[in-house]
């Protein structure tokens, strides 16, 4: 029998960083305790893990770091429940458990040679960060075509990974468009909702794939814009979230139709989702 999938790997919280101005999202950096532990956790962009706060419980979060960043894992977590609240209050140096990697990942092999359009909204930018960081790695960058990123938040203070956004902005191998919902003093970037900005940017669908993560309402209104640009359902990739417990396709709660988000997802193409009921 394979190793017990319920047992978490102990990791050390080395950084508890307040990511957004409203303080509701923190980014946690967990360090592997040994090289062996790290080897036992081979992951790809798009996968998630169950983070466990001993004494409180476990909760699933998308991995925000990229496998190209060795030694640690990063998660950006909103304060919503028992586990996330405990994490937010956690002191650096505390030991947590991490169980994973779980789920499938963005189809990096199939994406080779293609232009990639990444669209994110709010704090659903975590595994997208992983993806962007992975692609921007010099040894990977050549495998992919043009990289366009559209990222929106309500206001500048709610954008995640501000330092990196700045760095990406200065690069020529990534086309980054950040947008906020309403004008704010001092913001020189674009203003407008993600669907509108997508329409303006009008990414070409030719030899392209769009990856889209965000709140349901953003996805709902961005889809028609992508379709207008010529993206077919199998050219649109989404990452689903549903309540999960086991993360390994057994506890029975995260299914959408006959597929489990935890085991068969969380990454699905729009074409796949069109075959499934809308229970997510």
């Amino acid at each position: 029998m394979q190793r017990n999938p319920y047992l978490p790997l102990p990791m050390k919280l080395v950084k508890n960083f307040t990511e957004t101005e409203d303080k509701l999202i923190h980014t946690f950096t967990f360090q592997f305790l040994s090289e062996e532990d790290e080897k036992s956790f081979p992951y790809m962009p798009g996968q998630f893990a169950e983070v466990c706060v001993f004494g409180k419980g476990e909760a699933p979060f998308g991995i925000a770091s990229s496998p190209t960043e060795p030694g640690f894992l990063k998660f950006s977590v909103a304060k919503v429940g028992l586990v996330s609240t405990a994490l937010h209050m956690m002191e650096e140096g505390t030991i947590v458990g991490v169980r994973g990697p779980l789920g499938n990942y963005y189809p990096l092999e199939q994406l080779k040679g293609k232009n990639i359009v990444i669209i994110g909204g709010g704090f659903a930018f975590t595994t997208l960060r992983s993806m962007i960081t992975y692609i921007l790695k010099p040894e990977h960058r050549g495998d992919y075509g043009k990289l366009t990123v559209i990222y929106g938040a309500r206001n500048p203070g709610l954008l995640l990974y501000k330092e990196e956004l700045e760095e990406w902005n200065g690069r020529s191998d990534i086309d980054l468009v950040c947008t906020i919902d309403r004008p704010v003093e001092g913001w020189t970037g674009r203003v407008g909702f993600v669907p509108t900005v997508t329409k303006e940017v009008a990414p070409s669908s030719e030899n392209s794939v769009a990856i889209i993560c965000g709140p349901p309402v953003m996805i709902k209104f961005t889809m028609p814009e992508l379709e207008a640009c010529g993206f077919k359902p199998d050219q649109i990739i989404m990452s689903l979230e549903n309540r999960m417990k086991c993360g390994i396709g057994m506890c029975g709660r995260c299914n959408v139709g006959n597929r489990y988000v935890c085991k068969d997802g969380p990454v699905f193409t729009k074409a796949e989702l069109n075959q499934l009921p809308n229970e997510y």
Partner: protein, 339 residues
Amino acid sequence: MIIAKNALPGLLDKLAAEYEVYAPVKQGAYSLYKQICNGAEADFGYVNSKIPPKGILFPQSEKLYSYSVTGEGTSLEECVDTRKKVIFGIRPCDAKSLLLMDNVFNNDKFQDPYYLTRRSNTILVGMACNDPAGTCFCTSMDGGPFDQSGLDLLLTDIGEAYVVEAVSQKGKDLAAALALGAADDSQKAAAAEARESAEVACAVNTVGLKARLDVNFYDPIWEKFHEKCLGCAACTYSCPTCHCFDIVDEAKDCNGCRVRNWDSCMFPLFTLHGSGHNPRTSGKERMRQRIMHKFKYFVDNFNATACVGCGRCIKNCPVNLDVREVLADIRGSEARSDK
């Protein structure tokens, strides 16, 4: 082979010395599978147990591991149960349900060591159903009152004795260890007659059911089933194939254990997101999930229906919501694939 009824308590005693033995035990007006210390506790005058024996392999509340955390690290202690068990008198429907559960706990990607360890250490001694209940519909669900699927031994009640058939190698070994005598021809004939005369009166027509479920997710028919449903878990907890669970911590500070408990798709909390969004908002969606899971999704994934026709959900429902009627209505519904 043969076991005389008056020799059975002694035989169970003998088994109990080596195995954890689970057998039907009376509790008021119903029976439950319980661990017995001596053979006299077992009572085989049962139709079937109130709650299925799945809990022996997949307990309602089960410690997965205990932990203690210090500044230096953590220590985790797995709680895998490796004790050898015998379920004595399991009905064929319940034995079949374990074959179905195996698909879940040993899926294409992961293996559940808790269930699988118990499973491989457990011997299933079946009791054929000479008199199936009025709510039994096993023959409609690819089973039957004398079905041997999943069993190691099968016993047939012939009045004064049980005729024993070995189904698997495990069963043969157990029979050899117990030094069971051979059945004579008249005993074998009596068993064959019992098999002939066992009748499952109730039939559920499943022809075209799956095809209908494939296309009627958005059918208005789902509006009506749940109206009387209380949203409790009497059906799912008494179902031998329902396997949903929750994982929680029971701890003081950083020392404690992680526990899994049965959970039910009939509870609103089951799918409630942290954000407050719930993909299954009402009883309608939850009832649909229960039916879809058993009669479509499970078939899609494992090529088998996740129902063995034991009838427990029918008997235990506080408002008499009868799955047989639900299935009949679905078969008669119109195809609707538009959202």
